[in-house]
């Protein structure tokens, strides 16, 4: 592979997968509101 192709491959990986990592990190820092989790009684009957 040429140096420019390697560079572009690394930039693509870092940008996209790095973006995914950041998005997941952001979500992990803000866990779901436990009050909003449905209790078993509140779960809808699906059938």
């Amino acid at each position: 592979m040429t140096p420019i192709a390697i560079t572009m491959m690394i930039i693509a990986m870092v940008t996209i997968w790095g973006g995914l990592g950041l998005a997941m990190w952001n979500l992990a820092r803000h866990p779901e509101d436990e009050d909003e989790l449905p209790t078993p009684e509140e779960m809808p009957h699906e059938l």
Binding site: M8, I11, I16, A23, E32, E36, M43, P44
Partner: protein, 534 residues
């Protein structure tokens, strides 16, 4: 309504709207929907054809300026108005309901042919073991497997080797759909998506060890900077992102309607969008490493062997499977990935239709699913496992999937932004529960940049499809199953929106009224309400 009474009544509505039991399951399901066949067989070729490594720039611009903002628009509508596409748009404004039905009808057309491709891929996973195509993968696919008719038309000469796998695909899908959002869709995605990622990673690793893999990657990532001056390359990036993220055809509206009231919409959306793109990059690496091997093995340049879509999956890849060491493993992984990626997307497409009927008629999950999916499966099984199935699939995909969704998306953003002036209200809704706050920039992107990009792409599509007969098919065929079908969906959407919402429908259910009251307490104001406008 109890479970027993629901089952006794058959068509009685459940007491509460189904919800994803956790944010994680919603994200997995949304990624499952977004990661489809296009990620594997479309992105690598689109990127290669449009500047290689340089394509990353328009791709990222399109992702950040159009894909993610549109995804958030879908989330905000589905989550705020808690309904399937027709119900959510109806609650946004009475005049917007046809948009929802248009999206439902687009999903109907896509669903009937999507199952055929999954069935082909399933059969090809098996053929990879026997290498049934011999030395001529192209001839095998079109003649020996599909028995393709010479002339496009409507034939009822059935091909059993397509019919039975399609039947199996429909049975599996219907079983998942009947089980509901939590027990069916969530569980299926929670199992299939990780499996898909693991299989694809193994495929990529195996491809990277093939002779010529680096030549393939070199071709894929070498930038052609001049291509950035070509507006067509930018249109390709916007077009790809738009189709890849499953935005503007009801799926994300429907899925987000199953989220709990306080859910981080934008934070979850970021994960979905970047996971979808992350999978595409992975697919690009895997596919071009394999194409590099094919190029070296055949003594041709990479640009001579590179292809996308059906040509890549059912012609180029079988050739690679025949020549590569452990080719059977590579084939099973590749076609298995197509099956899994397609299945999770098909589920989400069908959910748009099932949810719409459930909301409009107030039916139970089971009744709505069976009444909706069985006729769709029958239509699919009558039209596509035939000798003309591939022609019909090709035309439906070109006119309804590509052209129809573009037109529907353009109408949607214009109606919601300029027509109803609802963007500030939806922006506030996004910001009430989300961690990544949207500012005026989001409104400018959705109300300004996105319509311009969509308008440009739509005009291009109309010019291309009007200038010559699509794929060389007869004019009557493209007229009926292309233009005719695309137009009929609009007429059908308007007619469906004229059917009144009955007493049993979900339009004014108590749960939504309660949700609405809580939203209004939090500051939500309907800008189209008469007293507010006055």
């Amino acid at each position: 309504m109890t479970k027993s009474s629901a089952s006794r009544g058959g068509t009685a509505a459940p007491a509460r709207r189904e919800t994803f039991s956790s944010r994680r399951l919603f994200i997995l399901s949304a990624i499952g929907s977004a990661v489809g066949l296009g990620n594997i067989w479309r992105f690598p070729y689109v990127a290669y054809e449009n500047g290689g490594g340089a394509f990353l720039i328009p791709y990222l611009v399109a992702l950040l300026c159009a894909g993610i903002p549109l995804l958030f628009l879908d989330y905000s509508i589905g989550h705020r108005f808690r309904g399937s596409a027709p119900l959510a748009y109806r609650r946004l404004h009475r005049a917007a309901e046809p948009i929802g039905w248009w999206q439902v009808l687009i999903c109907f057309v896509i669903a009937v042919y999507y199952a055929a491709i999954i069935a082909w891929a399933a059969m090809y996973a098996w053929f990879s073991i026997t290498q049934a195509w011999g030395d001529d993968a192209e001839g095998f696919f079109f003649n020996n497997y599909l028995h393709t008719a010479d002339q496009a038309g409507l034939s009822f000469d059935f091909v059993s080797s397509v019919f039975f796998p399609m039947l199996a695909v429909w049975i599996v899908t219907i079983v998942i759909m009947v089980a509901g959002v939590n027990k069916g869709i969530s569980r299926a995605n929670a199992v299939i998506l990780p499996l898909l990622v693991v299989m694809f990673v193994i495929l990529v690793v195996q491809s990277l060890f093939l002779d010529g893999a680096m030549e393939g990657l070199n071709a894929f990532f070498t930038p052609n900077w001049d291509s950035l001056q070509n507006p067509g390359v930018w249109a390709a990036a916007f077009g790809h992102i738009f189709f890849s993220l499953s935005v503007a055809f009801g799926i994300m509206v429907t899925y987000s309607s199953y989220l709990k009231r306080k859910t981080d919409l934008t934070g979850s959306g970021m994960v979905v969008a970047f996971a979808n793109s992350g999978f595409e990059i992975l697919a690009g690496i895997g596919v071009f490493a394999a194409l590099g091997f094919m190029s070296v093995a055949s003594g041709q340049a990479v640009d001579e062997v590179a292809s996308g879509g059906i040509g890549l999956a059912f012609v180029a890849f079988p050739t690679i499977v025949s020549e590569a060491p452990f080719g059977a493993v590579l084939g099973v992984l590749f076609f298995g990935s197509l099956v899994f990626a397609g299945l999770t997307s098909l589920i989400s497409i069908l959910e748009v239709i099932v949810a719409a009927f459930q909301d409009k008629l107030g039916w139970s999950r089971k009744a709505a699913t069976l009444v909706v999916t069985i006729p769709i499966a029958l239509i699919s099984l009558i039209l596509f496992p035939t000798t003309t199935g591939i022609h019909l699939l090709d035309t439906s995909d070109a006119f309804v999937n590509q052209f129809g969704i573009l037109a529907c998306a353009l109408v949607t953003v214009i109606v919601v932004s300029a027509g109803l002036g609802s963007l500030p209200r939806l922006q506030k809704h996004l910001n009430r529960t989300s961690t990544v706050k949207m500012g005026a920039g989001w409104r400018i992107l959705v109300g300004g940049i996105v319509p311009v990009a969509l308008g440009y792409m739509l005009i291009n599509e109309i010019q291309t499809k009007s200038s010559e007969q699509y794929s060389g098919y007869p004019a009557w065929f493209n007229g009926v199953f292309g233009w005719g079908m695309a137009g009929a969906l609009i007429v059908g959407a308007v007619l469906l929106s004229l059917i009144p919402w009955g007493e049993k429908s979900k339009l004014k259910d108590a749960e939504y009224e309660e949700f609405n009251a809580a939203e209004e307490l939090d500051g939500d104001v309907d800008n189209n309400r008469e007293d507010v406008k006055a």
